[in-house]
Symmetry: C3
Subunit: 148 residues, 3 copies
């Protein structure tokens, strides 16, 4: 006999997070939402792939506390200064060339393990959305939980 729980079980669960950011330098803790997605999926072992839609924001992990939010912002300002000349801005008459560059270097996605039904994050490690655009934005973050 074939257990019904097996062939009725999907292995991907999609969770969509919508939030409004305050613009450049706003870093938002996504961990509670990602944990909720993992729990709601019923998946015990797998991955939670977290992805931000759009090209001026990024997803990474950090110890989420105000000091590091400030330190990361300063480092990225030195790496890709807001006031540098950007060919993107000359071409499109906007002001967010540095936002795009920072987003592409950090990247739009992380994959967090789900093990025994929980996210395998460190105590001081949070999944965060980094807003790099120069104005407040409505953001969509998709969490795909894949596994058994």
């Amino acid at each position: 006999m074939i257990p019904s729980s097996r062939y009725n079980t999907r292995m991907t669960h999609t969770h969509t997070v919508r939030l409004t950011t305050k613009g450049e330098g706003d870093i938002r803790d996504l961990t509670p939402e990602v944990a909720r997605a993992a729990e709601a999926s019923g998946i015990q072992n797998g991955i939670a792939a977290v992805f931000v839609v759009g090209s001026t924001a990024a997803v990474t992990t950090i110890e989420f506390e105000p000091g590091l939010v400030e330190d990361l912002g300063r480092t990225l300002e030195q790496l890709a200064p807001r006031d540098a000349h950007h060919a993107h801005e000359a071409r499109w008459h906007d002001d967010n060339g540095h936002s795009h560059i920072r987003a592409s270097i950090i990247g739009p996605t992380v994959c967090v393990p789900v093990a025994n039904g929980s996210l395998a994050l460190g105590t001081w490690q949070q999944v965060v959305l980094c807003e790099f655009d120069t104005r407040p934005r409505e953001r969509t973050v998709i969490v795909q939980v894949v596994g058994d």
Copy 2:
């Protein structure tokens, strides 16, 4: 009764992209190939993991337009200048130490969500291969689509 579509369905589909780049600074839009891989898989919900084989190229997302290609190149030249001294070059008598460093910082992979059979990318967000090596290279990009 057990639906035959269930137990015959694989949940991973592999799609291989081969392309020849022009060398350092060549950024190539992979989005049409990744979308084709997602469509061909028949998977409705899951992830498309895009990975470049090799250690002098990277994969990320960007608004793919010539201004940002130029801006990203300039930022990476400041971060890891081509003409800096590289222990890698002293050791192996080549000229691409900076290419390796840029590739390791950006990273070889992104995971794009597949939702309702389509890639969940922003309108101005493309999946790109970044060639950092100093000469044209034949590149292999693997797209693994995993899901239901």
Copy 3:
């Protein structure tokens, strides 16, 4: 008749790697462990998601040789200098603000394709753990192999 191999097969296999690093600048080749995880899973096609638990270390790919280990360390020292003022350190009275920043920029995870039972890495491309903390640390790396 339904093949028993189908409904008995899990599609996620979890492999945990524990190692002790030497502190800042220690880069460790994880490739043999990731390959072992892929092989032990029995999965022929899928992804191996490699994730480091903690916020002062990162995972990426690199040609793992001493020259590039030195070059990457120098580049990251210029990007996020150890001796810069860090709001994190002023707040928490520690010395690893730069370690957190480097870790968040590189990121905690890569997804390596598994194709025909093997990792699809380049010959000169290894999966590595980058220790950025200022002291030796016991690290946990989780490898989730997901696929068929």
